[in-house]
């Protein structure tokens, strides 16, 4: 019998190695797997390479993981934000390495990893400093830059509903990087707000099929306000 449901976040994250590449979903206030990041802090793995669109906000979540000195390198598209002080300080002190990646390359490099693509050519960033030193090629009269996939050892993503086979649905723009990160990592852990029985997810609506998911763990939804769901703060 296949049962990917973990009894706890700690169980889902057990075995995360020092030096692992950890893909962390989320964009802005949507889709951040806050409880899983807290679990990773408790789990203790260090010397991590973290892939996320941003580089942490405030003092919680990814910022807390950074502050705990557990991250060697961040691969992201937009580290600078009004409240990215933890990253800013570490970066200026030379204590964390940054690989800045255009957001579309970030998404496509993850997708490529999940799809078994060895590398791809893309026009994004040609002629800019973010393509410096990279192989280029003219294809159909247009200049392209060679980009390699980003493989994760672990992915932490936030979904909405899941079943014991690991099938997932998402909620609105909280989907963002979840599906491509799920594909790109060997050990994908998804938090869900609701666990359902097999067959209760409409197969036409499943966004991430369970084959891409290793562990599903339920976390309660945060308080609602004004009909909406508040940020994971």
């Amino acid at each position: 019998m296949i049962n990917k449901i973990a009894a706890s976040v700690a169980e889902a994250l057990a075995g995360t190695q020092d030096g692992a590449t950890v893909l962390i979903g989320g964009f802005g206030t949507a889709g951040i797997p806050a409880e899983l990041i807290d679990g990773l802090i408790d789990q203790g793995a260090r010397d991590l390479t973290v892939v996320n669109n941003n580089a942490g906000n405030g003092e919680h979540g990814l910022a807390a993981l950074l502050k705990a000195g557990r991250v060697r390198k961040i691969i992201c598209s937009f580290p600078r934000q009004a409240d990215s002080g933890v990253f800013d300080g570490l970066y200026r002190a030379g204590r964390v390495e940054l690989e800045l990646v255009p957001q579309g390359n970030l998404a496509e490099r993850l997708r490529a990893a999940g799809a078994g693509i060895g590398a791809f050519f893309c026009p994004t960033a040609f002629g800019t400093e973010l393509a410096a030193g990279k192989e280029t090629r003219e294809i159909n009269g247009r200049q392209h830059v060679l980009e390699y996939p980003i493989h994760g050892d672990v992915a932490l993503i936030k979904a909405e509903r899941g079943d014991r086979w690991g099938n997932l649905t998402y909620r609105m723009s909280a989907r963002n990087f979840g599906p491509v990160m799920a594909m790109a990592a060997r050990h994908t852990v998804a938090s869900v707000h609701e666990l359902v029985e097999l067959g209760q997810l409409d197969p036409e609506q499943v966004v991430t099929p369970g084959i891409f998911v290793r562990r599903v763990v339920r976390v309660p939804r945060l308080a609602t306000a004004g009909g909406g769901f508040k940020a994971a703060v």
């Binding site: 964009f27 802005g28 206030t29 949507a30 889709g31 598209s77 937009f78 580290p79 600078r80 934000q81 990215s84 990253f87 800013d88 970066y91 200026r92 940054l98 800045l100 990646v101 255009p102 957001q103 579309g104 390359n105 970030l106 998404a107 496509e108 993850l110 997708r111 893309c122 026009p123 994004t124 960033a125 040609f126 002629g127 800019t128 400093e129 973010l130 998402y170 909620r171 609105m172 723009s173 909280a174 989907r175 963002n176 990087f177 979840g178 599906p179 491509v180 966004v207 306000a225 004004g226 009909g227 909406g228 769901f229 508040k230 940020a231």
Partner: protein, 221 residues
């Protein structure tokens, strides 16, 4: 150029809302459009009635509606600037790789971006000022700039100290080469091409010669 003095007697500039309306006028019915963070976001409020224009947000939304009313914010439904928004009937959600495939695959008809500098041939600099200790951040700017079928820039023509942001060659780090087709500014609208700049319109009271002096580059009428 002695900038302070040279900009003192300029004709009335287009206010931001007026500039946003000017941009919006040129977006055809049925277009798929991505509006960049900052000033371009204002275009959403000026879309001409009677046209169906579908807004794309890089974080996985097509058919994005106006900002959410106070008290009705849902923080799973946000735009690229991380503000709570709404979804129009017919709207759709999708993941990041699909969202950027819409840009990079040439499916987005028009993107409107802000800029630090644009060159006469359409090179764009809008992601970094290149300052030594600045934390760099690029987001989706490079993907949009080269991926959308048309990239438009919306900005003030002059910096606060009166220097033209339209230049012969960008001195700031580039976002994309030869990607900007049109520049909408508070004083005039321009087309960019390999042949250089052409003036599409000017604000009332601004002569072609005066505009050419402000930009400091040859302008075709």
């Amino acid at each position: 150029m002695d900038s302070k003095e040279s900009t003192m007697n300029l004709p009335a500039r287009r206010q931001k809302e007026v500039l946003a309306r000017r941009v919006a006028q040129d977006i055809p019915d049925g277009s798929y459009v991505n509006l960049g963070i900052g000033m371009p976001t204002l275009v959403a409020n000026q879309l001409p009635p009677g046209r169906e224009i579908i807004l794309h947000s890089e974080n996985g939304i097509l058919g994005m509606g106006p900002a959410a009313a106070e008290g009705q914010e849902d923080f799973d439904l946000i735009n690229a600037g991380k503000q709570a928004v709404t979804l129009l009937p017919g709207g759709a959600f999708f993941h990041h790789a699909d969202s950027f495939a819409m840009m990079r695959g040439g499916h987005i008809d028009i993107c409107v971006l802000g800029a630090f500098q644009v060159s006469a041939t359409g090179d764009l600099a809008n992601w970094s000022t290149g300052e030594a200790d600045a934390i760099p951040a690029v987001g989706g700017a490079m993907d949009l700039a080269v991926g959308a079928r048309q990239t438009w820039v919306m900005m003030d023509l002059l910096t606060k100290s009166g220097v033209s942001k339209i230049v012969e060659r960008c001195s700031y780090p580039l976002t994309g080469l030869g990607c900007v087709k049109r520049i909408y500014t508070d004083l005039a609208t321009f087309d960019c091409s390999t042949e250089g700049l052409r003036v599409v319109d000017r604000v009332e009271g601004l002569s072609h010669a005066e505009l050419e002096r402000l930009v400091g580059l040859p302008l075709r009428a």
